[in-house]
């Protein structure tokens, strides 16, 4: 029922830029009836309170705004809000406790086959899935704070989940404790900008079959398995930070079947594996920084035609490891902190080539248990001997023009 009494009934024509007949309604009562009786393009202001919702359906273009963050609760068993109309905007609402369900992918907000929706400045607390977009276009997800607390991957959903979407912008969100922070499957032309995704149970960002997408200036931190980008083309990855993804099978960035992409100006710090390449091709890896990783790059033999330029590698346990005797990628003008060559003509480029693959990284790639000898004096001696007379390491994996100084001084 719409409450039409006293101060709770307000009309602001100033807000009605969409339609002349649109009005603003302030409510604290039965939300479903309120939505049914509202006209398209109305604005609903929800006052502070606790609302228990079961798949609250928004089937007309509405602007729903919370006043002092009212709580919409799924009571640990329900889906909370389902949007099936275009041009819906939801902001400043706290969504809590959408229950775990393996049949329905219960989510706090589900957008199904819609266009031009906005989900902004909401708080999501302890939901199974938080924001779920299916077959939607031109939507904006901005400034949301998404936190979940589940400890097990199997009992946890994704923070922001996109399935068959186009032109979605995900911006300035904070995501923590979900299975995958952001999950994209069959998505085109979308942008993921300035999000912070940390302590997720699997990947901070998980990217599947999503061509022509772009993600930049995000921070992915302490995720159990890091970030995975798989089976996609033309992906732009710029100025992201991959930090502290540390664990026995964690990756800063895991690339599988990626081609024609650009990885530029990212920072990889303290990851067990900085970037793992499997079946990647025609990708440019330029101006990235790799600092204190276990393996900065792990390049599998099926990756080729990639270009590594102007990256800086410092204090990694292994700069590169590979399982191949050959190399079909180009390494040029990178800075390697382990490079010990000289530069007689002072042009900033070392006069002798650098071989970034150590003997021990080849040995340990083939036979993992040998890693137990890491830091042994013998291994150091063998590495030096291999450096002077290369025999096991791939002969043509070589940087012919190594830089004398890190790239950020130069470029």
């Amino acid at each position: 029922m719409l409450n039409l009494h006293g101060s709770k009934f307000l009309i602001f024509f100033l807000f009605c830029y969409v339609s002349f007949s649109a009005k603003t309604v302030k409510t604290n009562k039965d939300l479903q009836n309120c939505i049914f009786s509202a006209q398209p393009f109305d604005t609903l202001i929800i006052t502070k309170g606790f609302y228990i919702c079961d798949s609250l359906l928004v089937n007309k273009p509405l602007t729903i705004i919370g006043e002092n963050y009212p709580t919409f609760s799924g009571n640990n068993k329900n889906q909370i809000l389902v949007i099936s109309a275009n041009q819906v905007s939801v902001s400043k609402i706290k969504f809590a406790n959408s229950g775990v369900s393996f049949l329905h992918d219960n989510s706090a907000i589900k957008l199904d086959g819609v266009k031009d929706c906005k989900i902004t400045e909401n708080i999501f607390d302890d939901n199974f899935f938080s924001i779920y977009l299916a077959k939607s276009q031109n939507c904006l997800i901005e400034h949301n704070r998404i936190i979940a607390y589940n400890k097990r991957q199997t009992l946890s959903g994704n923070g922001i989940h996109l399935w068959y979407c186009r032109n979605i912008t995900i911006k300035n969100n904070f995501i923590q404790g979900h299975r995958d922070g952001i999950y994209l499957e069959f998505v085109r032309n979308s942008k993921i900008i300035s999000n912070r995704s940390k302590n997720n149970l699997r990947y901070g960002l998980h990217f599947m079959f999503s061509d022509s997408c772009e993600y930049m200036k995000n921070i992915f931190e302490k995720n159990i398995a890091g970030v995975a980008v798989m089976y996609s083309k033309k992906v732009e990855m710029t100025e992201n930070q991959f930090l502290n993804n540390w664990g026995s099978s964690s990756y800063g960035l895991l690339l599988k079947d990626i081609s024609e992409s650009n990885i530029r100006m990212n920072v990889f710090k303290k990851n067990t594996n900085g970037i793992y390449f499997e079946a990647c091709g025609k990708t440019n890896i330029v101006q990235n920084k790799f600092i204190e990783n276990g393996w900065a790059l792990r390049l599998m033999a099926n990756s080729m035609d990639n270009v590594f330029r102007f990256n800086s590698f410092s204090s990694n346990t292994f700069d590169i490891s590979t399982n191949s005797k050959n190399n079909y990628n180009l390494f040029e003008n990178n800075y390697w902190s382990e490079y010990s060559g000289y530069d007689l003509n002072k042009d900033g480029i070392g006069d002798i080539p650098f071989r970034p693959v150590k003997l021990f990284s080849v040995v340990s790639e083939k036979n993992r248990p040998t890693l137990i000898l890491l830091n042994s004096i013998l291994i150091k001696i063998l590495d030096i001997a291999e450096k002077i007379f290369p025999s096991i390491t791939p002969e043509n994996l070589i940087d012919n023009k190594p830089l004398m100084r890190p790239t950020y001084d130069k470029v």
């Binding site: 026995s248 204190e292 276990g294 040995v363 036979n367 248990p369 040998t370 137990i372 830091n375 013998l378």
Partner: protein
């Protein structure tokens, strides 16, 4: 001579030895080396665990070598003094043990102050937490001193020939820190098709230097790099039984050369 008198004598000679050793330029140099190593690695990386890894390499390399060489040199250079002491009514094991502790105490002091002082200088506020990171390094460092000084004395007692003594001590150092790892690596590679985790645990327990390295590494986050084997090692060694195995093994490595040394010293005809 009753027990009390023996202890008194032991204390007296050890004290004298310590005094004469601690002012030796080699011990001062030893202190300066560890001070510099610790200071430099702390100033390059602002992280204590990273510094601990750097220092670990220095400790595992230098401590066995220095203990072996300094121990044998000391024995050979002071053979006249030892013969002189033997003419007094003192039991030979007492003399041997005081020789041992007279070497151990100054070296250990040089090592400990060299490592700990820079930690204190850099950040006195977080000294306790930093010290906790360094603790495995310090414990294994002390054990390595114990082991290799007892080896040094054993070698010097057995061989009258100085050259042979030096050769043997360098050989023992090479064997335990390089050749053993080579055999280890070959074994791991030739049996790569078999599950090797427990095999490598056994192999590393048998070598004090490997054991020290693994004990330090499993206490740092470096262990995650070692993958599955690292996890097995971590599970095996990070509980009480694992620690017990590590320290029993290290203690056996101290006791065997020490007792052998005493036996040969008792029978030796100077």
């Amino acid at each position: 001579m009753d027990q009390n008198e023996k202890l008194k004598m032991l204390f007296k000679i050890s004290l004298f030895q310590t005094k004469s050793n601690i002012s030796s330029k080699w011990i001062v140099f030893y202190f300066i080396f560890f001070f510099a190593a610790s200071y430099v690695s702390l100033s390059f990386t602002h992280e204590t665990s990273k510094a601990a890894v750097n220092l670990m390499n220095a400790v595992l390399f230098i401590v066995p070598l220095a203990s072996l060489l300094y121990g044998t040199i000391y024995f050979y250079n002071n053979i006249d003094y030892i013969i002189f002491i033997l003419s007094f009514p003192v039991k030979r094991p007492v003399i041997y043990i005081s020789l041992f502790s007279g070497l151990l105490i100054p070296m250990a002091i040089g090592f400990l102050t060299g490592i700990i002082l820079p930690v204190l200088l850099f950040n006195a506020n977080s000294f306790l937490s930093d010290f906790y990171v360094f603790l495995p390094l310090i414990i294994t460092g002390i054990y390595l001193h114990l082991i290799f000084i007892s080896f040094a004395l054993l070698i010097a007692v057995i061989n009258e020939n100085k050259l042979l003594g030096f050769g043997l001590s360098i050989f023992i150092w090479l064997l335990l820190s390089v050749i053993y790892d080579g055999i280890f690596l070959i074994a791991l590679n030739s049996f790569a098709d078999y599950p090797l985790e427990y095999f490598s645990i056994i192999l590393s327990v048998l070598n004090p230097i490997d054991l020290s390295r693994i004990f330090i590494t499993i206490n740092l986050d470096l262990v995650t790099l070692m993958g599955y084997t690292g996890a097995v090692f971590h599970n095996f060694f990070s509980n009480i039984i694992g620690c017990l195995i590590i320290f029993t093994s290290l203690t056996i490595w101290v006791l065997i050369p020490l007792f052998l040394g005493i036996r040969f010293f008792n029978k030796k005809d100077f």
